[in-house]
Point group: none
Chain length 258, copies 2
Amino acid sequence: MIKADERREEIADYVIKLGQVRIDDLVEHFGVSRMTIHRHIDRLAQQGVLRKLHGAVTVQPSGLYESAFRYRVTVNRAEKDALARAALDYVEAGQVVMLDDSSTANAVATLLLDVKPLTVVTNSVSTAALLINVDDLDFICLGGQYHGTYNAYIGIVCENAVAQLRANVLICSASAVTGTTAFIQDPNVVRVKQAMMAASVKRILLVDHAKFDRIALHVFDDLTSFDAVLVTEGLGDAQAQSLERAGVKLRIVKTKAS
Amino acid sequence: MIKADERREEIADYVIKLGQVRIDDLVEHFGVSRMTIHRHIDRLAQQGVLRKLHGAVTVQPSGLYESAFRYRVTVNRAEKDALARAALDYVEAGQVVMLDDSSTANAVATLLLDVKPLTVVTNSVSTAALLINVDDLDFICLGGQYHGTYNAYIGIVCENAVAQLRANVLICSASAVTGTTAFIQDPNVVRVKQAMMAASVKRILLVDHAKFDRIALHVFDDLTSFDAVLVTEGLGDAQAQSLERAGVKLRIVKTKAS
DNA sequence: GCATGTTGACGTTAAATTCACATAAAGATA
DNA sequence: TATCTTTATGTGAATTTAACGTCAACATGC
């Protein structure tokens, strides 16, 4: 409920203020059971706000800027989580995974911590904050010009950096989809994403069904270019069948948390 | 994991206080087994805080690592601030400034906020955190493989990214200086710094005088390659004159806070 | 090659975390 | 109001994990 959210926010603020806190300190400070504290911080860790250690929690290492985004919450969180979980089917331990700057891919990053060892490549600052200093995980950040709107590095420097690399799998998202075409609003972002497509063996697109039948300024790519297009449930049967007939490897993901 | 962290911090404090301690003293002082002490100091040595000798540990002389503990951040703070303030003389509004991953350059970044508009380029995550979302400041992050010890992106990806850019001025530091040669400990870091040298019109080196008459593993560059070498006061007159005779554009910076 | 310091493998212990279940509170529905 | 559902919390056992110690093999010679 609301009360739990407030409590979580209090916990996050407390941990962020102190940098690192022992679980028992939290138990004492908030006067609740250890189990409850665990449940709260598990959720905060899922959101990427905190990181759990044995016996303590810390803020994400680059908490400086992460804190500004820490409650940039959860528009369609359930959908993103469902897509992210489904996307794990396309990742195996030991692979090189490329993630774009979408919040959906960011959700994937939190789950990737369970698929180590891995090499992860991204241009997203939020995702970088999640993956820095994780053991058994080789992290490569794509540099470039910082763009606050996307909280990511983009531009020529970024495109060239991508072109030097090869990933087993790319997990990305799009602004809008109409017919079998995916769109992206920003011209510089679309170039980075297209470079990522070219640098990846397998390509997975994650899109909320609400993005269908919309357009954005720039064409990203055709849905048939992806090895899998994961969409949240809610797409009409007729539309789904039409996409599959067009050769799109469509997969509908159930949102409901089992 | 947490208890071990605290124990490691205690050990580090103890060693730093005494300068050099025998392992058996640590065993006795902390009442744990020799093996445990070894494990702790191995980790501290890996973090660059301590150095292992046979039968003893000393503090690591080169105060270059950003990553570790709270006291490390404040080591030689006054010197770094003085150098950073002096370095501002070489930066003008509107220029492109490149900063390396040193904590000294990070100190410069905090002061650059008063020289806007600027374009700043760096591979340091700490510095990136400072400069993200600053108005009137174009920020370009150099990507690459993340290295926790330096809290920076390094490696081939980073070197190539640097090679694409040109900066008006580079502000950087070194691990050690002997004669007219500057050294860097890490082979990958030195390559990034050398790429930065090649990509910059003007080059400024900032070094604490305590780093003189020491060496590190890799040769970075000759002091005469820099357009200015800023050193904190404490260098002997004879040594200063000798450097100037060798063609080094030396500038002694007073540490005393006004 | 001796004495001392160091490393690695393994087992033990203590602790943290998770799980299953029970309880309590808040909302919804009729 | 009564009761039914949903959500938050607590309890204690079961499981997992980390820290440490011991001993034996190895390396080194501040």
